[in-house]
């Protein structure tokens, strides 16, 4: 459902000219639980950004649900992100002045969902990520793990076709990190949402069902690790 074909991406980082992706091809199906691994600078964040329509490839094509994305205007990319793609960041990136509920609900409000529906879906998801009773707390009053759960809920509340997580456990201790991964795995199984992580953390790699290794802008290996 997401097809990446021969994608190239270069960018200038200060004085250096970086060729982040040098012809990457990849296919992601529904309900996949996939990890893109590699050392820093291997281009995994770039690949994730391109899949997530945050960035555009210099050449090659990206198709989401059969529709090509690479030639799209910035506007249409925004719409795609809005409705179809969920993000989880390593820094959580919650809005500090909003409560957990508000952070999650915002994703739905952006789409014009009616109020009653927002309430229902948000509360449900917060329960699902194990945060019932914490809805009115601001991020400052939540632990790292709890914040990341809110982020996961936010990514999921709009029922995206794919959730992209960029090093989601990097700022958590191993125990908390593992609980987050377990949560995502649960959701993947129950809802069938596709999860794609980028990571260089071994534990995360171990959790993945499918592991793509990226090295120097090219896919080195792509193997199924374990099954659901």
């Amino acid at each position: 459902m997401i097809t990446v074909t021969d994608v190239h991406k270069e960018y200038i980082d200060g004085e250096t000219h970086v060729r982040a992706l040098r012809g990457v091809s990849l296919e992601i199906d529904e309900a996949e639980f996939l990890s893109i691994a590699g050392p820093s600078g291997s281009g995994k964040t770039t690949l994730l950004n391109i899949i997530g329509c945050i960035d555009t490839a210099d050449s090659g094509s990206v198709e989401i649900d059969g529709a090509p994305v690479n030639g799209s205007s910035k506007r249409s990319l925004v719409e795609i992100r809005r409705a179809k793609i969920g993000f989880v960041f390593q820094n959580f990136n919650l809005i500090p002045v909003l409560t957990a509920y508000e952070n999650v609900a915002m994703a739905l409000a952006l789409m014009g969902t009616p109020e009653s529906e927002i309430r229902e879906r948000t509360m449900k998801l917060l329960r699902e990520v194990g945060l019932s009773g914490m809805e009115d707390r601001r991020p400052a009053k939540l632990s790292g793990g709890q914040q990341q759960r809110v982020a996961v809920a936010r990514a999921l509340v709009k029922d995206p076709i794919i959730v992209l997580a960029d090093e989601p456990t990097a700022n958590l201790d191993s125990e908390t990190g593992e609980s987050i991964l377990k949560l995502m795995e649960d959701i993947n199984r129950k809802r069938g949402t596709t999860f794609v992580f980028s990571t260089h953390d071994q534990m995360v790699m171990d959790y993945a069902y499918r592991l793509c290794r990226l090295h120097d802008g090219l896919i080195e290996s792509d193997e199924v690790r374990r099954s659901a």
Binding site: N49, D55, V97, M106, A109, M111
Partner: protein
């Protein structure tokens, strides 16, 4: 729990709803308490000062107009055609000849009219009873005591002695002049001037009264004597240099001149020509009707200059406000770059992000403006009730000005609202530039920050 209102549904391009963005913006204001407070204070200060200054300026204009109407021009005047252009020379050969016809035409129309002869002369005083010899060039006016009191406020300004009586060789001088000459009621003066025909003339008069008006231009330059005395010595042969009129007016200087024209027309007095009286032979001397605006055109020009100066001050205040807020907003935007990146990743449109920051910035502006409005109102209240005493500063000023020592402010709700709204709008606009900078960057770059 906060409620997020969402707008239309079902449409492919749904809009987040300005309400949600506004609420978000409002919450964001609490993020940098101290910084926001300082900015708000700066705006409040600026708005309050602007309101205070506007009030003073309005007060100055109102006072100036009032003093002009009450002591110099009245609501309107009838003079010989072309007199007003030459009035600085005080010519006696451009006159209203048939004074009786004009005055009775006006009085029949219930318009109070005061004929005056204005001329230049030198006032000379001698040691004993004066402290020392002295002389000063002054503007001198022959006035009809009874009629003058109906049009001007000079009679009310008398502080010592008596007002003028027809036929008496008496003059009124100002307290300002009396102080400088060491004069008192009853002291004699000698006046040298020229008759209408140009002959030298000397008048021996006594000071019968001392006046004090709030109009320093008058106090520093004018003395008054009975019209019939002036007519005799200047050999005016019944003519006068101006007839001043009192008309009902809502605001000083805003009188409607139509009743005057109507009254003159009814009596057959032509404003382009008026039959001369007294100097034998038919002579057509043209007279004209001057409005307050026409008579004070130069004063208005000076006021325009003040307006321009005020606009400059306004600009400066605006610059301060802009600099103040834009710094705050710039820092806020830069600090939140990653957050902005996140919001964009989340699918928030550029326009929505811009709106959010504009609301935030306008919010600061609005709060500052509201406080500034209150402060400004307090300031204006003080100015209207107590005014500012400039008398010490003005005592040695040489230029023409028309307000007395104390300047009072004027309430102007319109100005106050404009200031507040302007501050809010300006503040809102200021956010756009820093936001634009960030939105130009790639989302991934923004996400990479700090």
């Amino acid at each position: 729990m906060t409620v997020f209102k969402s707008s239309r549904t079902g449409h492919h391009r749904t809009y987040a709803g300005l309400r949600m963005l506004a609420v978000l913006a409002a919450k964001n204001l609490t993020r940098y308490r101290r910084r926001t407070l300082i900015t708000v204070s700066a705006i409040a200060f600026g708005v309050a000062i602007f309101i205070g200054m506007a009030s003073m300026l309005d007060g100055l204009i109102a006072e100036g107009d009032r003093n002009l109407v009450r002591y110099e021009t009245a609501s309107a005047a009838i003079t010989g055609t072309g007199y007003w252009d030459e009035r600085e020379q005080y010519p006696l050969d451009i006159t209203v000849a048939d004074v009786d016809a004009v005055v009775s035409a006006l009085e029949d129309g219930d318009i109070a009219a005061a004929p005056r002869v204005g001329f230049r002369g030198e006032l000379i005083v001698h040691y004993d009873p004066y402290p020392e010899d002295g002389s000063v060039h002054l503007n001198m006016y022959g006035i009809d005591p009874e009629r003058d009191a109906r049009v001007f406020h000079l009679a009310d300004a008398l502080i010592e002695g008596q007002f003028l009586d027809p036929g008496e060789h008496g003059i009124l001088i100002s307290a300002w002049l009396a102080e400088r000459l060491g004069a008192e009621v009853g002291y004699p003066v000698t006046i040298t001037t020229r008759t209408r025909d140009g002959f030298h003339q000397i008048l021996d008069m006594d000071i019968v009264g001392i006046y004090e008006t709030p109009n320093p231009t008058v106090d520093r330059s004018a003395i008054y004597m009975p019209l019939d005395i002036a007519d005799f010595y200047l050999e005016m042969r019944g003519a006068v240099t101006a007839i001043h009129l009192a008309l009902p007016e809502p605001v000083p200087g805003a009188a409607d001149l139509q009743p005057v024209r109507a009254a003159l027309e009814r009596a057959g007095v032509n404003l382009t020509e008026s039959p001369a009286a007294g100097d034998g032979g038919p002579q057509s001397s043209a007279i004209e009707l001057l409005s307050f605006d026409e008579m004070t055109a130069e004063f208005a020009a000076a006021m325009e200059l003040q307006d321009a100066a005020f606009a400059v001050v306004l600009l400066l205040l605006g610059v301060i406000a802009v600099v103040g807020i834009s710094n705050t907003m710039l820092m806020a935007v830069l600090e939140r770059e990653r957050e902005i990146g996140m919001m964009r990743a989340l699918g928030m449109r550029n326009g929505e992000i811009r709106s959010m920051f504009v609301f935030e910035s306008a919010g600061i502006g609005l709060i500052g403006a509201a406080i500034g409005l209150l402060l400004g109102a307090a300031l204006v209240w003080y100015l209207t009730a107590h005014g500012i005493d400039y008398s010490a500063v003005l005592a040695d000023v040489e230029m023409d000005f028309r307000f007395d020592g104390v300047l009072y402010g004027v309430w102007s709700p319109r100005t106050m609202i404009t200031a507040a709204v302007g501050a809010a709008v300006l503040a809102g606009a200021v956010a756009l530039l820093p936001v634009r900078r960030i939105l130009r960057r790639g989302i991934s770059d923004s996400l990479r920050q700090h």
